[in-house]
Symmetry: C2
Subunit: 241 residues, 2 copies
Amino acid sequence: MHFVSPSFTIIGFGAFGKLLARLLAPMGSIFIYDRRPEVSAEVEGTGFQLISHPGEIRSSIVIMAVPLQGLTDSLLEVGPHLGAGQVVMDVCSVKEEPARLMQDLLPQDVEIIACHPMFGPASAANGIAGLQVVFYPLRGRTWRRIAAILRNLHLTVSIMTAEEHDRHAALSQGLMHLIARAILPLGEPPAVRTRSHDLLCEAIEMVAHDSPEVFETITRGNRYMAEVRSKLIRSLEDVSG
Amino acid sequence: MHFVSPSFTIIGFGAFGKLLARLLAPMGSIFIYDRRPEVSAEVEGTGFQLISHPGEIRSSIVIMAVPLQGLTDSLLEVGPHLGAGQVVMDVCSVKEEPARLMQDLLPQDVEIIACHPMFGPASAANGIAGLQVVFYPLRGRTWRRIAAILRNLHLTVSIMTAEEHDRHAALSQGLMHLIARAILPLGEPPAVRTRSHDLLCEAIEMVAHDSPEVFETITRGNRYMAEVRSKLIRSLEDVSG
């Protein structure tokens, strides 16, 4: 596949789909496919083009910006309309299950990248330079060109398998979400503060507004989380004896 | 008590005593009392004056920069040499016990401030502007002048009781130390990272090198920590069901 100016179809115009559209707009045309009724008003005036049927997808790059919980349905809906010359990427917070689903449900001549941008609307609020995108190239070679596009946006592209991703992500993103959900019920930050606790609050704030679907995917969709969670609980029981 | 240029005697030239001496040096003369043999070499060339016996303490302000575990012994040693016109402050990470000890063990004519600077060598590494110092004034009125000195160093002085301090500190400093000690055994930061997890690591790094005495004081010397710890464990058990 060769493209000078790529075009992107983003499936799903939720919080992350909107962020992606904005970030990728300087790199090529942006098409949106999302059947929810409110989306047509949301797309208006953005310069993105809303398409009304997956049969209209012509882009070289198709990004499934849907939660893991909806990925199967979306692949079943969109997949039959895709073919040679197109590459499909997901953006789910775990990689083992989406990788399996995309390989099972997409036509054989469609290229596939299991992908995880390690940021969201909150963490990208002050720019994305230096942030990480994980790629697990599953089919085809176009991923190299897409990685180059992302590097042009000053993102770091890390290549690893779905298993490596999920094992490592459990210890960073997964751990952070667990900590945040455990601390939030303790209430407002107290009147006595330290610099380290301020940083902790800032970190929690970044993930506190992620959707329930994202939290569910990160904690229950990752088979390495159970161990991280029990180790954390054991450590807490140990440290203060 | 009136002083134009105050002098400070710092009891204990450990990590925090050294930081205090450096921070307070622009505000007045600094005397050090610490009988450990290595201290005389450490003080050399600093401009601070090492004194060899508590009978030599003449400063208007005496700061007990010793761990909670050594506070009783230090007060018993230094207290009998102090009197009217002098104010004693501690810097322990909890306030209920030091407040009680200072009231019990210091002569009646000595002024007392239970004090907690909410920072240490790591969190003060990039400056102290905006950082917090908690004051619980126990005897005398000199605390107002000392608070003014600290505000001149761009510190924020918060007045509260020992009980208020310990209850709030459990939810910030105590919580942060618990989290850090629970996460450190999980090992090195993984190859997949998020901005929020990077912040969490930065926060952990700030407290990871605190002494075992500091950790012991913050977690076991604070009677509100047991509840914070059990709530945290319960939340962790809940969130991932």
